[in-house]
């Protein structure tokens, strides 16, 4: 161990550092490997024992071993030491290790810096309002520790330190807001791999009807949509995300070509399939604010287009982002709800959408041929197929029986129970077998309207699959077999569709969504969601784009010069006001009310031409005043007596302040 260290970190600062450490670990716990948390807690516990004087700090070799093995373990776990995940694990370990060997003020300052980093990195993974408030609290704790470090050792009240730190933090808020709003947002300076959170719930790019006996539903939010005009009817809200056009008898998948760069056209480039999409009528404009999915696909109503940089349109009329969406992301879309897609179907596309496995499901193929023969044209074929679902005893359920072998046959002729994936898959199979190009489209359907913010909430349980069939002259037409079987699923949402079954959100644990029938729960939930919506839109989604829009509405046009001037003026104004506040002198040099009165007496005396000499005692000065103004000598004498009593008598004189004040007023 080293020799005696002269400097001792104030206990005050140490208290807050320890509190900040434990508080700083918490937001990382669910994401980090468990051993990181355990090592951190061990370090913290050890430091507490040292703090209480029970244990000694670990020796140098043990610390070296800890640091080395910590780094190696992070490397082993993440395969790297860079990037937000491994980086934040390293930071957290470093924070705790450094706390173990903190002797000097310099060490403590390093711990504080690491503490701020721990807070900042937590924001890579936690973005909700509650998380933010909590992390601000941690930030405040670190600041309290920093403040404690610079108090003199005589100040040992941690509460007071915290109060001072809180004042600093609160005073920083206005300036933070100014900087947040006005500092120009620029795009990434260099490309980085975005941190990916642990497995996210969301849409899958495959669909295997009959594999799961129970559709797991999540009450998690998928995205929110803010319409610029009126919200279309619920049965119009088909949020297209994926097109599944390949079937192997079991699973519906995307054709490999969909992943090819040529499948997407980016804004600014000539659109090679412009002629195959015709918008008819007025476009509906809206903004989608989506939760991270770690996938590139976006959600939009048909037929969608977006001018936003980095958002492209695919050959199958979906929108995709250039990079996977790993942060809350918002984009503006214009959709022509009335449209015509691929009025002329190219041969290669028709072939692709007629693809079926070589064999299997003979009964369904037989049925398809019968349908074909019964129908005069394609439209009739579709309506006949749908009539099948209506007339046969099909039912909508979230707990369908498992299927195997010829799954479509089993579903269509035996079980006849299923959810959207079963119906969409079966219908496309029938249509293709009957020679009509068709494909499965997945995404979300419907949404919950929040009247508070005039926006639509789409949850994960709104995930849906439907069918697109190509009709000569009309192009791709949306057909939803689920709507035929369970009209309420499309018109009113999942909850109504499975009301009899009681399976709505049955396995998702507690969620306020389960209590939608209670009005006040709904009110609270929608209110809270509105808050989150505003948070996502105005804080998390505040980027270069929205900054430009917001500023041009305020400053009337944005350029660098205007922005610079606005920034400087705003900072100066905020700092000016704060400086007045912080540096305000209340004039009095004492807190003693009697002495304050005396000081006012002195000020009055000075105004009357008799200034107090430096070092002149109160009694002497008042006597001199009395001599200068003989008419008031008696009052001045009384003042002097009151002062003397106050200053030199052990017991306080009751009412001295009031009497002095009255005397002073009579004199002035």
């Amino acid at each position: 161990m080293t020799g005696v260290v002269a400097y001792q970190i104030p206990r005050n600062a140490m208290t807050w550092l320890l509190v900040a450490m434990f508080a700083g670990i918490i937001p990382h716990v669910d994401r980090l490997p468990i051993w990181v948390t355990l090592v951190c807690l061990l370090c913290g516990g050890w430091r507490i024992m040292v703090y209480r004087g029970r244990w000694a700090l670990p020796g140098g070799w043990l610390r070296a071993l800890l640091v080395f093995s910590g780094g190696a373990a992070v490397w082993g776990h993440y395969g790297t030491l860079m990037g937000p995940e491994a980086g934040s694990a390293l930071l957290l370990l470093g924070f705790c290790f450094k706390l173990m060997e903190t002797h000097t003020r310099r060490d403590a300052f390093v711990v504080v810096i690491l503490g701020y980093f721990v807070v900042a990195t937590a924001f890579f993974f936690r973005l909700e309002i509650v998380d933010t408030l909590y992390l601000l609290l941690v930030c405040f704790l670190v600041t309290a520790a920093l403040l404690g470090l610079h108090q003199s050792p005589l100040q040992t009240a941690p509460r007071r330190t915290a109060w001072l730190a809180a004042r600093l933090m609160l005073q920083s808020v206005p300036l933070t807001l100014v900087l947040f709003l006005l500092v120009p947002r620029i795009g990434p300076i260099w490309a980085l791999e975005q941190p990916s959170a642990s497995a996210r719930t969301g849409l899958s790019d495959e669909m295997t009807p009959g594999d799961i006996a129970r559709l797991s539903q999540s009450p998690a939010l998928a995205f929110r949509v803010e319409f610029e005009g009126a919200v279309p009817a619920t049965d119009q809200l088909y949020w297209r995300a994926l097109v599944l056009d390949q079937f192997d008898g079991r699973t519906w998948r995307r054709h490999p070509q969909q992943l090819h760069p040529d499948w997407v056209v980016w804004p600014g480039n000539p659109n090679p399939w412009r002629s195959s999409q015709q918008a008819l009528g007025q476009a509906t404009a809206y903004r989608v604010i989506m939760e991270p999915t770690d996938k590139r696909w976006l959600f939009a109503l048909d037929l969608a287009r977006s001018d936003q940089r980095g958002i492209g349109q695919t050959r199958d009329f979906r929108l995709v982002n250039r990079v996977p969406v790993s942060q809350p992301f918002s984009y503006r879309v214009e959709s022509a709800l009335n449209h015509r897609l691929d009025p002329e179907l190219p041969y290669w596309l028709a072939r692709r959408n007629l693809q079926l496995p070589e064999d299997g499901n003979p009964r369904s193929r037989e049925l398809a041929l019968q349908l074909r023969q019964r129908s005069g044209d394609a439209e009739e074929l579709v309506s006949n197929a749908l009539a099948l679902f209506r007339q046969q005893p099909f039912s909508y359920t979230l707990k369908p029986p498992l299927l195997s072998g010829d799954r479509v046959d089993q579903f269509l002729f035996d079980s006849r129970r299923g959810f959207c994936a079963h119906y969409a898959g079966a219908l496309v199979f029938l249509l293709r077998a009957a020679g009509q190009p068709a494909r499965v489209v997945t995404g979300y359907q419907g949404g919950e309207f929040n009247p508070l913010g005039n926006y639509v909430l789409v949850h994960q349980f709104d995930a849906h699959a439907w069918v697109e069939v190509w009709l000569p002259g009309k192009g791709w037409q949306r057909v939803d077999p689920t709507a035929v079987v369970a009209p309420s699923r499309v018109a009113e949402g999942l909850e109504q569709a499975v009301a009899g079954e009681g399976s709505f959100l049955a396995d998702s644990g507690f969620s306020p969504l389960q209590y939608r029938q209670w009005a006040w729960v709904s009110q609270l939930r929608l209110g809270w969601d509105y808050l989150n919506f505003a948070w996502h839109r105005s804080v998390l989604g505040y980027d270069a784009d929205s900054q430009r829009r917001w500023l041009s509405s305020w400053l009337g046009g944005v350029d660098w010069r205007r922005l610079g001037v606005a920034l400087v003026v705003a900072i100066a104004a905020v700092l000016g006001v704060l400086a007045l506040w912080v540096l305000w002198r209340n004039g009095a040099t004492t807190r003693d009310p009697v002495l304050k009165e005396y000081q006012r007496l002195c000020a009055d005396g000075e105004r009357r031409g008799v200034a107090r000499q430096p070092g002149e005692a109160p009694g002497r000065y008042l006597q001199r005043l009395g001599e200068t103004f003989p008419g008031q000598a008696r009052q001045y004498q009384q003042c002097a007596r009151l002062l003397d009593d106050h200053l030199y008598r052990a017991e306080p004189t009751p009412g001295a302040v009031k009497r002095l004040r009255r005397l002073r007023r009579s004199l002035a």
Binding site: P84, R105, F109, I113, Y116, F117, V119, A120, T121, F123, F124, L127, T132, L136, C139, T143, L146, L147, L149, H150, Q151, S152, L154, Q155, L164, L168, M169, Q171, S172, V173, L175, T176, L179, F180, V183, R185, I186, G187, P188, I189, L192, Q194, P195, Q327, V539, L540, Y542, D543, I571, L575, L578, A579, V582, L583, R585, N586, G587, T589, T590, R591
Partner: protein, 323 residues
């Protein structure tokens, strides 16, 4: 060489500039004219950290990480105000200054008060080679600090500028101020232990004892007066008579001494002064009456603290031009 010259020129220039800007004074209140403020090394590190967080926020397009960076920058700026406010409004005035012997430390007492009515924390006072002191003005309006400055030269000692500094609250900036406080002490010669062979012993009329008020022998009782030493109150007589009386004492003045400059002929000036100084202290301690004769100065025989001080002052200022 050139560096040295530049350095000397710079020191002289800054010294003059400070003197013009901050003239010598007995008391002063710190304000924006007197307070300088700059970021500390830690402050620079803090800004670098903030910049790193800012880059992270930009590159990952994360509003909240950016927000953290903005919050930290704001904290930095706000702490400038607070560091400044921690010194501003602080009133520093000269208090007692006690003389000392060469090689010892002179005690300078400063009085600090919060003229702005604010709190001041961890204000560091450094003055010359004194060990720096930290002063807090929390929940009180005034505080005193005594700085011990080592003195090495006999004569009148006037310390250079006093520095007040503070990096409270966050240590990111350091505010400091120079004050040319008008405080001076006398530095007495370093006492040199020696014999005094020429004990000029003057007995005044032997047999007749001279007495005066002192502390050696009990003399009698007199009525208690305010301000009398409580130790001298005759409690036994109080118990008897219910009246307060004080005991009086007398000192027997048995002899008078003359301390002569010439007695140490052959020594250097400082040597002589040191020896005389030793004897002044010794005789004063023993309660003798003594006189001091220096070239141009003669202090007649007397005793007591005041006389001792006069003698020491004469020794300290020997050879100096009286101001």
């Amino acid at each position: 060489m050139a560096v040295l010259m530049v350095r000397r020129w710079w020191r002289q220039w800054s010294d003059n500039w400070l003197r013009r800007r901050l003239p010598r004074t007995r008391a002063t209140t710190l304000n924006q004219r007197r307070i300088f403020i700059l970021p500390t090394r830690n402050g620079v590190y803090f800004l670098l950290m903030t910049f790193a967080i800012f880059l992270g926020g930009i590159n990952y397009s994360n509003s909240l990480v950016l927000g953290t960076a903005f919050l930290l920058v704001s904290l930095f700026m706000i702490s400038i105000l607070h560091t400044f406010a921690n010194l501003s409004g602080l009133r520093v005035s000269a208090g007692r200054a006690e003389g000392a012997f060469v090689g010892e430390e002179a005690a300078f007492t400063l009085r600090l008060s919060a003229a702005g009515g604010r709190q001041h924390q961890a204000v560091k006072l450094s003055w010359g080679r004194a060990i720096p002191q930290y002063v807090d003005l929390v929940d009180c309006d005034t505080a005193a600090a005594t700085l011990l400055l080592p003195v090495t030269r006999r004569g009148r000692y006037r310390p250079r500028r006093l520095m007040l500094e503070s990096n409270y609250p966050l240590g990111l900036q350091r505010a400091w101020s120079w004050i040319d406080l008008d405080m001076a002490v006398l530095v007495y010669p370093r006492p040199i232990v020696c014999d005094y062979s020429q004990r000029l012993h003057v007995d005044k009329r032997p047999g007749e004892q001279q007495t005066e008020e002192g502390s050696d022998d009990f003399h009698g009782l007199r009525e208690y007066q305010r301000g009398d030493n409580p130790r001298h109150i005759a409690w036994r007589s109080y118990a008897r008579t219910q009246e307060l009386h004080s005991k009086t004492f007398v000192t027997r003045r048995s002899s008078e001494w003359w301390l002569e400059w010439e007695a140490f002929a052959g020594f250097g000036v400082e040597e002589r002064l040191g020896r005389l100084c030793y004897w002044v202290c010794k005789l004063a301690e023993e309660g003798h009456s003594y006189g001091l004769r220096l070239p141009g100065v003669e202090l007649g025989p007397a005793d007591g603290a005041l006389h001792r001080r006069h003698c020491l002052e004469a020794l300290a200022l020997y050879g100096e031009v009286q101001p």
